[in-house]
């Protein structure tokens, strides 16, 4: 997977999480995932279509999701409540939206779907041209995971020297 596609998502997650959760974030483990993805708890999925195709899953365990929702809304929440699910979806929306804006401004054209709660135990399997990268972000409210699998679509892949980052 091209680092030029990934870096905007890392920058965006770092910025959005830091700003929203009012803390410094630290990037923890980064790994390539070749096995079928299994969510860790409460997960939001955002699909991407256009010059880039793929998806981003934003994932955290139930305890972290509850703490994050309580912090952001000021209301007591439990791990399965709609407010918690909505909070995780909106965080995913802000992170992906900000990264997409950056890539769009560099000439890459694509659209994102509204985030949806990811309830399946499985995610999308990585492949030769759609590897999944998993990153952990440490925050004061717990660890959040971003799982990215995307690729240039065929038309875009065949274009030379797409971006210089």
């Amino acid at each position: 997977m091209k680092m030029e596609l990934i870096q905007p998502f890392i920058n965006s997650a770092d910025s959005v999480l830091g700003q929203s959760l009012g803390c410094e974030t630290q990037i923890g483990d980064v790994s390539m995932e070749e096995e079928v993805y299994r969510r860790k708890g409460v997960a939001a999925l955002v699909n991407i279509t256009g010059d880039i195709e793929g998806r981003v899953i934003f994932d955290m365990n139930a305890e972290t999701a509850t703490r994050v929702a309580t912090f952001l809304t000021g209301a007591e929440a439990d791990g399965s409540s709609e407010l918690v699910l909505e909070t995780v979806c909106e965080l995913a929306n802000m992170v992906v939206g900000s990264a997409v804006s950056s890539l769009n401004d560099q000439g890459v054209r694509f659209r994102i779907s509204p985030p949806e709660v990811h309830t399946s135990e499985d995610g999308l399997r990585g492949s030769e041209d759609t590897e999944a990268l998993v990153m952990c972000f440490h925050t004061d409210n717990g660890d959040l995971y971003m799982n990215i699998a995307m690729r240039y679509n065929r038309r875009r892949r065949n274009e030379p020297a797409l971006m210089q980052l």
């Binding site: 000021g74 769009n104 401004d105 994102i112």
Partner: protein
């Protein structure tokens, strides 16, 4: 952070319609608006509902997300302003690329605010968009997180 209350010249609070498919985002925006002394006229979860709710509620200001099911925000803003040329729409979205910002402004939106929304930025944008109708009043609001 405290803000001067945004009051219309007649002494009434600015009435806002919040359009976002995320309940969390709507709650967050409502909390911010109330800290500015604004009133929440209503909420809508997509562009289609926003159009009907605007007709019913006639708010002073619409805060509109972009990425939503059924009818996206930029298209909804365009239809809204076509039907109500005096409608004041501010786009509030995480997808703040230049293309979207330009498209939104060309199609009728008055301004654009990036998510995550910063309270001071939203406040200044509302003051700017509502400049001809509001008067600053007493300081309201408590700490905003």
């Amino acid at each position: 952070m405290q803000f001067d209350s945004l009051i219309r010249a007649g002494g009434e609070p600015v009435r806002c319609l919040i359009v976002d498919d995320s309940i969390f985002a709507r709650k967050n925006l409502a909390k911010l608006l109330q800290s500015f002394g604004c009133a929440i006229a209503g909420e809508a979860g997509d562009g289609c509902v926003a159009l009907t709710e605007y007709d019913r509620l006639r708010p002073d200001l619409v805060l509109m997300d972009i990425t939503m099911p059924n009818l996206e925000g930029i298209e909804a803003a365009e239809r809204l302003v076509r039907q109500h040329p005096d409608a004041r729409v501010v786009m509030v979205s995480s997808v703040g690329c230049q293309e979207n910002i330009v498209a939104a402004l060309q199609r009728g939106a008055r301004h654009f605010v990036h998510k995550p929304v910063k309270a001071d930025v939203l406040y200044e944008v509302i003051r700017y968009v509502m400049a001809d109708t509001i008067q600053a009043a007493a300081v309201v609001g408590g700490p905003i997180q």
